[in-house]
Amino acid sequence: MDLVLFIQALLIGIFCYLGSVSSPWLMGVTGGYYVVGRPLVAGLIVGLILGDVTTGIILGVAVQAAFIATISTGGTQNSEITYAAYGGIALGMLAHASTGVTVTLSVGIGALGLILHNFMMVINSYWNRRAEQAANDGDAKGIVWNNAIYPQIGNFILRVVPVTLAVYLGQGFVSDALKAIPKDVTTMMNVLGGLLPALGIALLMNLLIREKAHFIFFLAGFVFIAFIKNNMIALTVFAILIAYIIYLVKQKAGSTVELEDEVI
């Protein structure tokens, strides 16, 4: 048994747990899911653990791009980004895979991870019932244990075990597979990596676009970046300006009389 690799794999599994949406230890989602759980940050962490920060970050940036618009609402996600980040980047690095291959690995692992994550949410129903009973009994301790501690056992196991094993055992397998992969398949993976953000973006659009005319805004944003200046800060300032004007239009319309004398 390769002890060094095992410890590395274990550490990666633990970070995958710390970055999960329901791990409380790093100030809940704030330091967990939204910081340690992001592929960009995972890239740095995996790089540090495996001893090649530069490669780690480069892969992190690539995986992050594919998941740039992944969001979690109402407890549901379309991919488990943290499994994807730690599992995908670590395996990619160990097998010296290209960014395209690493992204595809991440997507696959993210899909599997989502099943485990949903399984954990099912288990939690059990702890919820106990927490509810504790509330009915006026038992503060019971709430704390059943909300904060017990559910973390399942969460911990369901992340650390599979990720550690996958990283520890998967290296050889992935390396071999990579050697056998024909060039066309690599190209497909690269194409897929470029297509993937379209899914997250479409989900976001579905959330925000409430009428046809809103496509004008979407197009304006697209054209700004594609034609004028590929810089998100510049676009954001421009978008704030447009949003402010739209706000003025609506505010003025909604309450004409009272606002007449207002200083704006």
Partner: protein
């Protein structure tokens, strides 16, 4: 007369900030996280009245879900209401319930789209730009900036919710707030358009024979509309999800098929 001190509020905020989703399930989501966060406050307010204490714990253990970081505002509001109730004002369970359920939806909407849909992608984009070639500065900037901004925001909103109490609800679900949300929506859609142009990458390798030379189709596209294929890809996904009501996983499979078939046909 029981009175909340700053340190009780801080404790309540910290519990919420940590344990909001720690026992998340499909049916309860942040229900017990909310109760957990109220513990230090309720203990103080109802320490001489175990029955009231029990009832308070119960009323804050029902289904609850909102964006956790901006949602700390609600916890602040509820703390102030519990304090008033403990001091004799007639605030019943229904009141607590209706306030929580009426705010949590809009707040989740604006919180998720502003943080996950606008703020995080923009911050990530900037930092990815810096870390493009492996430079750790970008990653560090992301970590520091996100933590500093969001933790202060969450803390600030909690304290403001406590100070303004029930009135702060208006600033979230009132008429003017709706217009503000509309403005944020506009902002969000523009930004997503930019994200699409930045991150979706699709280009064709088709070459068209033209006399002796070969016409590079992608170059022709780039000449009049850079990113045209990427735009089409996004619109396709949007159409499948929004009009054909396909699930995200099905769309993912379609994207895989497009990649495979496209490469086999020599299109991409």
């Amino acid at each position: 007369m029981p009175k909340l001190e700053k340190k009780d509020l801080r404790k309540a905020w910290r519990s919420w900030a940590m344990y909001h989703l720690s026992s998340m399930s499909f049916e309860k989501l942040e229900a017990h996280g909310f109760a957990h966060s109220m513990l230090p406050v309720l203990k103080k307010l109802y320490k001489d009245n175990p029955e009231e204490y029990r009832k308070a714990l119960k009323r804050h253990s029902v289904f609850y879900n909102t964006e956790p970081q901006t949602g700390s505002l609600v916890n602040g509001v509820i703390c102030s209401m519990e304090e008033k109730r403990a001091n004799g004002q007639p605030i019943d369970d229904d009141m607590f319930h209706s306030i929580k359920t009426s705010i949590m939806g809009p707040l989740a909407g604006i919180g998720d789209s502003t943080l996950q849909g606008i703020f995080i992608p923009i911050l990530l984009t900037i930092c990815m730009g810096i870390s493009n070639h492996g430079n750790p500065l970008g990653v560090l900037l992301y970590i520091v900036a996100y933590l500093a901004i969001i933790l202060s925001l969450s803390y600030f909103l909690f304290m403001r919710g406590y100070t303004l109490g029930i009135h702060s609800v208006n600033s979230i679900i009132g008429e003017n707030a709706e217009k503000l949300r509309d403005a944020f929506n506009t902002l969000g859609i523009i930004v997503i358009g930019g994200l699409a142009a930045s991150f979706v990458k699709l280009s064709t390798v088709i070459k068209i024979p033209n006399g002796d030379e070969q016409l590079d189709l992608q170059k022709t596209f780039d000449g009049f509309f850079p990113g045209l294929l990427s735009l089409l890809a996004v619109l396709l996904c949007w159409y499948l999800i929004s009009k054909r009501k396909l699930s995200a996983s099905k769309v993912l499979i379609i994207l895989v098929l497009i990649s495979v078939v496209g490469v086999l046909l020599g299109v991409f």
